[in-house]
């Protein structure tokens, strides 16, 4: 390939030290001792989204102002963006690397905008018409809705049963309207159940049973968990001692509930307790919440607790009810233990221990128990929980059992809307595989998260959003321009966003643009690593050794 050029005199030499020959033959890639490549890391928002949304992906589309494609990408995983944009506890934001830089990206607000855009623009999701298989979905909460929706998008006919008049389950009957606007919910649900037959007021276990579902090729059961846990104290059966969840359901069903001038005691520290307390306060009650541990241990989302505390509601911590009696005035007299924190529990939270001799009493007109919910097993005759918490199918007749799929809160999952959505979507995928007679393979998920050290913050500008519409302190919803501006703050952690830095910085012009990214021309890449060093998102990394 190479040949020697011999200069006999300086007059034959070029004026400056430049090779006479074209040097493309010199494949300097042979010098390489490490090779650039995408590191296969995922952004923390994506990794932490229970619903499995490609958050980084739709933020990238939002950056380009492409709301329509952002909506498509988002709803490919979660058909309820307007709902989740309002009620999700957004772990995406909590883990956002921008948190280390200025303020975490307000993903939830952007998600809400995308969801609302879908509603306003009357987006309908296309689904095939051919429907040879039929699936029954029991329970129209977020899990059932997601399962039905994704099955329908795969061309499966779906009939949905629910004990209530309206679909939505906990979304409709549990979450108060001040947190989730009913019009938004109904508009979003109309799209989600498009093409699905909805059978209202059909309660499994009483209005129909598994036998009635024999005609279906598969069954998906997502009847949720809405039996308030018993406090197991004396006086629990007294009138005026009620289930917090039932109270929410009454309000959300449109019943007139008068709480004026009543003194309300809410027992519990979870999201239901917060919703019950704040709803009762809105109906005119004076409200006290009693929780047996400290604020640190409250199972409610931090944001819910903060909002609770921002209202004129008394929060009594380290207090547990011991018994309830009716006093002479007809009011409820709740004898309470003072508690202290002892040794850590199995779940790591410190166990509350009664302080002897410190009992005291609280009076109330109404006591709401909101210490947790259990699945109502009367809905699913034959199903039981084994001692280890898993579901026992053995009592269900085999013909049904073989095509039975479960999801949502009846499984031992975290009880959140995005977890329920993921559960329903996964079930839909499993059912589709089942209907085709194929094995179900769990989709691969990137498990290495790009942390703040992976991001080259030199390429980003600190932005103070304290005064912008996206500020966490701001109320109301983002408009489209503000959502795009907020999306522009995305660091694209660990994922290429085609900034051209590697392409521009490569001293050997060995980075080649390809559709949707870049690749190294290994004929000339010397492995200097500048591309990886200057990659703002930490998408590129160097792998040791001479990788061909």
């Amino acid at each position: 390939m190479s040949k020697f050029i011999v200069f006999n005199s300086h007059t034959e030499m070029p004026e400056l030290p430049v090779s006479r020959a074209n040097m493309a033959w010199n494949k300097t890639g042979s010098w390489r001792s490490s090779t650039p490549g995408h590191r296969g890391k995922t952004a923390p928002c994506n990794f932490n989204c229970p619903a499995g949304e490609d958050i980084r992906g739709y933020l990238a589309l939002m950056k380009k102002g492409n709301v329509a494609e952002a909506f498509e990408l988002l709803t490919a995983m979660n058909p309820l963006p307007a709902v989740c944009g309002r009620v999700c506890y957004h772990p995406c934001q909590a883990e956002c690397n921008r948190h280390r830089f200025d303020t975490e990206l307000q993903v939830r607000s952007v998600e809400q905008l995308i969801g609302d855009w879908g509603i306003q623009n009357k987006r309908r999701l296309s689904f095939p018409t051919a429907q040879s298989k039929k699936v029954a979905v029991v329970g129209a909460g977020p899990a059932g809705l997601a399962a039905a929706h994704f099955l329908r998008r795969k061309g499966v006919a779906v009939v949905m049963y629910d004990e209530n008049q309206y679909p939505g389950g906990i979304l409709h009957y549990g979450i108060p309207a001040y947190r989730l606007d009913k019009e938004v919910l109904q508009a979003e649900l109309a799209r989600v159940i498009d093409g699905i037959e909805y059978k209202a007021n059909m309660r499994l276990g009483s209005d129909f049973d598994f036998g009635a579902l024999d005609e279906f090729d598969a069954l998906f059961i997502a009847t949720g968990a809405h039996l308030s846990k018993q406090m197991r104290i004396n006086g629990e059966e007294l009138p005026g001692v009620e289930s917090g969840l039932d109270f929410l359901k009454r309000i959300n069903s449109g019943q007139k509930v008068d709480m004026g001038d009543k003194k309300v005691l809410v027992i519990g520290g979870g999201n239901t307790a917060c919703d019950v307390a704040r709803s009762a306060y809105r109906l005119g009650a004076s409200v006290t919440v009693a929780y047996r541990r400290t604020e640190n241990e409250m199972p409610a989302f931090a944001e819910e607790v903060a909002q609770l505390k921002a209202e004129p509601i008394d929060l009594e911590l380290l207090v547990a009810p011991a018994r309830i009696e009716r006093d002479g005035d007809g009011r409820l007299n709740v004898t309470c233990h003072r508690m202290e924190l002892g040794e850590p529990d199995v779940d790591g939270r410190r166990r509350p221990v009664v302080i002897d001799g410190a009992d005291f009493s609280l009076t109330a007109d109404v006591v709401f128990a909101a210490i947790g919910e259990d699945p109502d097993m009367s809905l699913t005759p034959g199903l039981a929980y084994a001692s280890d918490g898993t579901v026992d199918f053995s009592q269900i007749e085999p013909r049904i059992r073989d095509k039975l799929f479960l999801g949502g809160d009846i499984l031992p999952n975290p009880r959140t809307v995005p977890h329920a959505v993921a559960s329903g979507r996964t079930a839909a995928e499993q059912i589709v595989a089942f209907l085709r007679g194929e094995p179900y393979t769990v989709p691969e998920k990137l498990t290495v998260v790009a942390g703040p050290d992976d991001v080259n913050f030199n390429y980003f500008t600190r932005i103070n959003i304290a005064k912008s519409a996206a500020s966490p302190a701001a109320t109301g919803t983002l408009n489209q321009a503000a959502a795009i501006e907020e999306a522009n703050r995305c660091l694209s952690c660990g994922v290429c966003f085609e900034c051209d830095n590697c392409y521009n910085f490569c001293p050997d012009l060995a980075v080649v643009r390809t559709p949707g990214g870049y690749k190294a021309n290994l004929d000339y890449c010397k492995g200097c690593g500048i591309c990886a060093r200057e990659c703002p998102s930490g998408s590129l990394g160097m792998q040791g050794g001479k990788v061909a």
């Binding site: 200069f7 300086h10 030499m13 070029p14 004026e15 400056l16 030290p17 430049v18 090779s19 006479r20 020959a21 074209n22 040097m23 493309a24 010199n26 012009l509």
Partner: protein, 384 residues
């Protein structure tokens, strides 16, 4: 059109008129306002050039080396420690034969810390293979920068235009700013025979064995030996277009002078005004203003020497251990030509101290009275 401008602003105008394509500079007093103005006119689009921000003068020069290798016209400006930081890359620029033009606003080298004027920064770079021009007025700055591009691109030798910090850089004068069409006609776009081209990749300045290295140095030296002819030719063309003429060294009252002072930069203008007054009282004093350090204007110097003339070289710089650098250069040139003249060397104005008319008079008096030392430095204005 005449405009009143500072020396530094004049540089920016000249760079703009020269249609420079890539600029990279790092701020340093007293040069800073040059790069500030250039960044503004690049930012506003007034000049269609890429202004590359860098973290040091070393990177500024490295950037221009890369840019110039692609065949574009490049410029930077610096002072003192900034120029010293570029040192190794100055060799690279000349060895790679890149016609980069740089302004050095003369500032003394620390320590001790100073921002004030002397020429030690640029004269210390005389062996780096760059041409060096020294100016005494803002008009000369404008003209020299424009000419430098033409000269540098013809010879493939980088070029430094130097003038005194504050004395010139921050002094406002009326400057005749030519129109763009005239400059374009005088200075067409650069046409590089050798340039980086990704569609036809060649290796530049790669590892060179002993069998060839010396020949490249020979070629650089040969280019310097051709340089004065190219410079003079450029000045001739310049005069035809712009009506102003320049020479390698400029003589004033030199024809019949019994005492001839050699000086450069702003000090030369003090010498000029002083001896003009001395001439009125009949004293036969002349000035040879040195405009070039590289290539050194030996021929012009020899043309202005007459028998019996007493020579004094005024240096606003010091090479510690020997003396003023212009004095050394004058002695070397005389020796090379076999001319036997005594050179009285004066060092003055280091670190921004004023060089006054009285200083100039004292030089003349000491030569007339034969009290000036030969073979050692005559320190002017030193607090003894």
């Amino acid at each position: 059109m005449k405009r009143v401008m500072s020396g530094n602003e004049t540089v920016s105008q000249a760079v703009k008129l020269s249609r420079v394509q890539v600029i990279s500079a790092y701020p340093i007093t007293p040069q800073t306002t040059i790069s500030e103005k250039l960044s503004e006119i690049c930012g506003s689009g007034e000049l269609d050039a890429k202004f590359v921000k860098v973290e040091s003068e070393h990177s500024a020069m490295a950037t221009l080396i890369g840019a110039s290798s692609t065949g574009v016209r490049t410029f930077t400006a610096t002072s003192a420690q900034g120029l010293a930081l570029m040192h190794e890359l100055l060799f690279w620029a000349s060895g790679a034969r890149l016609p980069i033009v740089m302004v050095d606003v003369n500032r003394a080298m620390a320590a001790p810390w100073t921002i004030w004027c002397d020429q030690t920064d640029s004269v210390a770079q005389r062996d780096t293979g760059w041409m060096q021009f020294y100016c005494w007025s803002n008009q000369e700055i404008l003209d020299s920068v424009i000419c430098s591009f033409k000269i540098a691109e013809e010879l493939l030798i980088p070029c430094m235009v130097c003038f005194d910090g504050f004395f010139i850089s921050h002094t406002h004068e009326a400057v005749d700013v030519p129109n763009q069409e005239t400059v374009d006609a005088f200075l067409p776009p650069r046409r590089a025979e050798y340039k980086l081209d990704t569609s036809d990749p060649h290796t530049f300045s790669g590892g060179t064995m002993p069998n060839m290295f010396m020949e490249f140095r020979y070629k650089l030296q040969a280019a310097f030996e051709r340089a004065q002819g190219v410079i003079d030719e450029t000045y001739k063309l310049f005069e035809q277009s712009f009506g102003r003429s320049y020479r390698a060294a400029e003589a004033y009252f030199a024809d019949d002078a019994e005492i001839l002072l050699l000086a450069s930069g702003s000090a030369a203008s003090t010498v000029y005004h002083t001896i003009r007054q001395m001439r009125e009282s009949g004293r036969k004093v002349g000035l040879l203003r040195l405009r070039q350090l590289r290539p050194f204007p030996t021929d012009t110097l020899m043309n202005h020497l007459r028998d019996g003339v007493a020579l004094a070289v005024l240096d606003r710089n010091l090479s510690p251990g020997t003396g003023g650098v212009f004095a050394q250069e004058v002695r070397a040139a005389l020796n090379r030509c076999g001319a036997d003249y005594r050179v009285h060397e004066f060092v003055a104005g280091l670190g921004g101290r004023d060089i006054t008319s009285r200083d100039v008079e004292s030089i003349v008096d000491s030569l007339k009275n034969k009290t000036a030392a030969v073979g050692t430095i005559n320190w002017l204005g030193l607090h003894r």
